[in-house]
Symmetry: C2
Subunit: 563 residues, 2 copies
């Protein structure tokens, strides 16, 4: 891949470069660079887009970071979610294993993931407290607590020679958060008072009016639901929503229910977070899933993975009657405490159909507020601007149109249009010593780096395009065996998959065979060595023939074997 950038050789400029996470959701990663120093904020993964069949994850494109790896003084992680941490195991060694800084829970979650990759010994994890001050090269870093749906989330202030750059991470304001640790408004306001050069802010909910519902309200709603339910309660949520898990446990304790946890990732997170003190479980509340039989149903709450309808998840198995310990039945209340991630709508609908069919009383966000987002709505975004009063603004995290919404808010709040930069991944924002900003004319090429099975980055766009074609209309392999004189030795072999059902298509394939014979027989003997031309003609003519007959365009793969 060409790298049209000088690698930051101009020591006079401060450079801010997103390598992922702008104009999209996930794979957040940002480089901040000055002279011979650079730091990275977040190193996350993204779930594949709908048009990337078969792909497991998408990672940031670290080509540029690799180029400046000797400058990288540290990687700072805002919180423990995979869209901010998930690329660490794939890339950290390639980047020369710089130290990774995170708060306690964040580091705990990173460590667990590194262990899955057997990399825990190769990465230096450094725990930070939000009150810490860290000096790395020319950069001084300070931190402020923000609210999100996982505890220990922070925003990061990078004090550079030209001013303070703030990256909010994922955040919302919640005056009554689950962990009773509201956003550190004081710190943010102080930064604002001293002057902030650049704010890079979370745009996820920039299209939503008003304020997020507080986690406190969700807790109250859960308590209300729990108190009304006479039978067993099964609640599906993300294992990463650590705050939600605590809320459920709190409500369970109040209503004297036992809590069992089902699903591997959920068990892991509960174990880790309670070991680190981020989930507090009263003694005797937690029971094992196979102990649930020993308790009356009205004394039970089961927290399960699978609220996105994932087939092999705990709730997925329950919904199909395939869970070993929990059979859902009339009298059960199932609560889906999450909202469908784009692309998962069909799976969630199927899950709901199954749960309703089993007779469960199903509660979900459309019918009752049992979930709230972890991202700030418009009024909160305005308040953040009011506190920070940045000189420049870059909306991060979110589709292009959400960035634009966020930019609109910045404009409304009084930031001049010329100081707002709706960046793409790979754009380079440069500041000079006066703190003036401009987008560099150079722009890094940022690819989708796809994790596909064991491969990282070896699934190219060609492969994805082929998969799309194969998915639409299938394929037809045509094998012609010819002798030295270019004559067919036997009738051509034709294999088709995903095109039309072959039993119903004998006549069609018979006609293809005749067409192949005709093409090969009419082909000039002098050309016979020119197999590419022959293959091209077979591909074109068969393609046209099949389209006329079926209006489908299967992938045609002609093979000529000379014996």
């Amino acid at each position: 891949m060409p790298l049209p950038v000088r690698g930051g050789s101009d020591a006079k400029l401060l450079r801010v470069i997103p390598l992922g996470g702008v104009g999209e959701f996930g794979r957040n990663m940002m480089v901040i660079e000055y002279g011979n120093d650079a730091i990275i904020i977040d190193m996350g993964l993204m779930f594949p887009l709908e048009n990337m069949p078969g792909v497991d994850y998408v990672l940031p494109d670290i080509s540029y970071a690799r180029k400046i790896k000797d400058k990288i003084r540290g990687v700072f992680i805002t919180h423990g979610h995979l869209d901010h941490t998930g690329a660490i195991p794939y890339f950290i060694r390639e980047l020369g294993s710089p130290p990774v800084y995170g708060t306690r829970l964040t580091n705990g979650m990173i460590k667990e993931r590194l262990e899955e990759f057997r990399l825990e010994r190769h990465v230096r994890l450094i725990e930070i407290h939000p009150d810490d001050i860290i000096q790395l090269g020319v950069f001084k870093l300070t931190f402020f607590r923000v609210n999100h749906n996982i505890p220990d989330s922070i925003g990061i202030a990078v004090h550079t020679p030209y001013g303070v750059v703030i990256n909010t991470g994922d955040w919302k304001f919640d005056h009554t958060p689950q962990d009773q640790r509201p956003t550190e408004f004081g710190k943010i306001a102080q930064l604002g008072d001293k002057g902030v050069l650049l704010l890079c802010g979370d745009s996820t909910n920039a299209e939503k009016a008003g304020y997020c519902i507080s986690e406190k309200e969700i807790q109250q709603n859960l308590e209300h639901l729990f108190s009304k339910s006479q039978g067993r309660i099964i609640i599906g949520t993300f294992s990463s929503l650590v705050s939600r898990i605590q809320q459920i446990i709190n409500a369970a304790e109040k209503l004297q229910r036992k809590v069992a946890v089902s699903g591997m990732s959920m068990e892991k997170v509960v174990a880790l977070a309670s070991e680190l003190g981020y989930i507090k479980i009263p003694k005797g509340t937690l029971i094992k899933i196979d102990q649930t039989r020993e308790y009356p149903e009205q004394r039970l709450i089961i927290i399960a993975t699978g609220s996105q309808g994932q087939e092999t998840s705990s709730l997925g198995r329950m919904s199909r009657g395939e869970h070993r310990h929990i059979k859902i039945q009339k009298g059960d209340t199932v609560i889906l405490s999450s909202s469908p991630i784009p692309g998962n709508e069909r799976a969630v609908t199927n899950l709901m159909n199954n749960l309703f069919s089993l007779g469960a009383h199903v509660v979900y966000n459309k019918t009752f507020d049992v979930h709230t987002s972890g991202h700030a709505n418009r009024e909160e975004l305005k308040l953040m601007f009011g506190l920070v009063r940045p000189r420049h603004f870059v909306p991060i995290h979110g589709e292009k149109y959400m960035q634009m919404h966020h930019a609109d808010i910045a404009r409304q709040i009084g930031i001049p249009d010329s100081n707002i930069f709706v960046m793409d991944n790979g754009h380079i924002l440069e500041f000079n010593s006066k703190g003036d900003a401009r987008l560099s004319v150079e722009k890094l090429l940022i690819d989708y780096v796809m994790v596909d099975g064991l491969g990282v980055g070896d699934t190219s766009n060609v492969v994805i395009r082929d998969r799309q074609v194969l998915a639409q209309d299938g394929m037809v392999v045509v094998i012609a065996t010819v002798d030295g004189a270019g004559k067919l030795v036997s009738s051509p072999d034709i294999i088709s998959r995903g095109f039309i059902y072959v039993k119903g298509a004998d006549a069609l394939l018979h006609d293809v065979r005749i067409l192949v014979k005709k093409i090969i027989e009419n082909h000039n003997i002098a050309d016979i060595e020119n197999w590419n031309s022959m293959r091209g003609k077979l591909r074109d003519d068969i393609g046209k023939f099949l389209f006329q007959r079926t209006e489908k365009r299967p992938m045609i793969l002609p093979v000529i074997i000379k014996v």
Copy 2:
């Protein structure tokens, strides 16, 4: 396909049989049968589910209707949308060309579609007025106007020997509808007073609380937006939302803007509906799209197809700067007056990203009420129950869980649980002369009948499964040419598509070639004629090998050619 049903030979039973449209959205079709008479209500198509790649439409399974075709006295269509009309061209002749009954606009839209299939002369379309009474065999049919987002929508009351069966079609109550023709409450109440045996009701919005927003409010909101916009207004919506189109024209007239229509289906619908008097366009308001240059921007409204982000649609082309007449720019207001159909979310997001990037002011339902659903919310459903007071109830139109929500409402309203039937497609609801109902133990097998290119019903589940596998991990064709002694004549040919990018996978495919050689060399000569076993071994061993190396499971297609 086996048909385990007797074809309604028991003349003593009234039978109600959905052949599509329950437990799903679309392909609505219902048979009502008594003795030697049957009628059909609706004959629609469904858009393919997310797991049906390459499929164009899904049709009802008419196997049973085909079997009783001699009894079919008529097909009654509730309104002109494709999910209620779209299967007519595919099936009507197979069913012996029974007459098709619909209101004026409904028939106009059906006729236009039949012309596309060149079938207009083969189908007898009979126009009905909501006050008509039609006697067909033992059935008397009466009708009542309902509101929906297309004019001329009706509910159907089938007066059978055992009582009245009502099929609501798609409906909502709107006291201030666009066409100023509210639901005929009086007729419905009268039916209720006389006693209704069975209500089959639209469940689409049964999970939504309250009432639909009135079309009047949408019109007011559009007027408000139009009056605030200083530049050109481009409004994307469905061509099938005839009422919305009229609202836009009304607002345009008020604000003295000219209206141009862009997109083939939109042009057709506007022409048809205005010809039939269902869209009223003041003289001089409508201009051609290529005349838009002649007017100042603040005098223009363009109605375009493509609010679902369809690539080749009018708005799709505008959003990419590829529209011949309309280049979107700063100052334009683009209104998306529809909501994304499940499965289209990504396309709509891309559309929005493009429109925002062009600098347009984009308004959509999340930021302002510019669209309302055509289906009743919970409070409206309750009112319908209050008016009809049916003895039995069947929720139709919607996912299983939405049917269950609707059934819950029926229960709340006082219909006994034993009289509520949450049917599947193919279930047979039987009534005896006392009007007692039960689900027949027999159940029809209802398949997805897929339209895929020119083929109807020839895309089987096998083909779809193959497409899914091909989309996930691609495929590898292995071609081994062997001589009579079972020895390889040359190195095996390997072709892979959609698996991993071949340039990066030379070593892997080299190893596959070695593996193929080894398998064939070690194969017992006596078995060599048993090619199936050899192919099976190649498939298994190569599959295992590739999974170990890549954790991917491409489709393996081994071909052995004997020369």
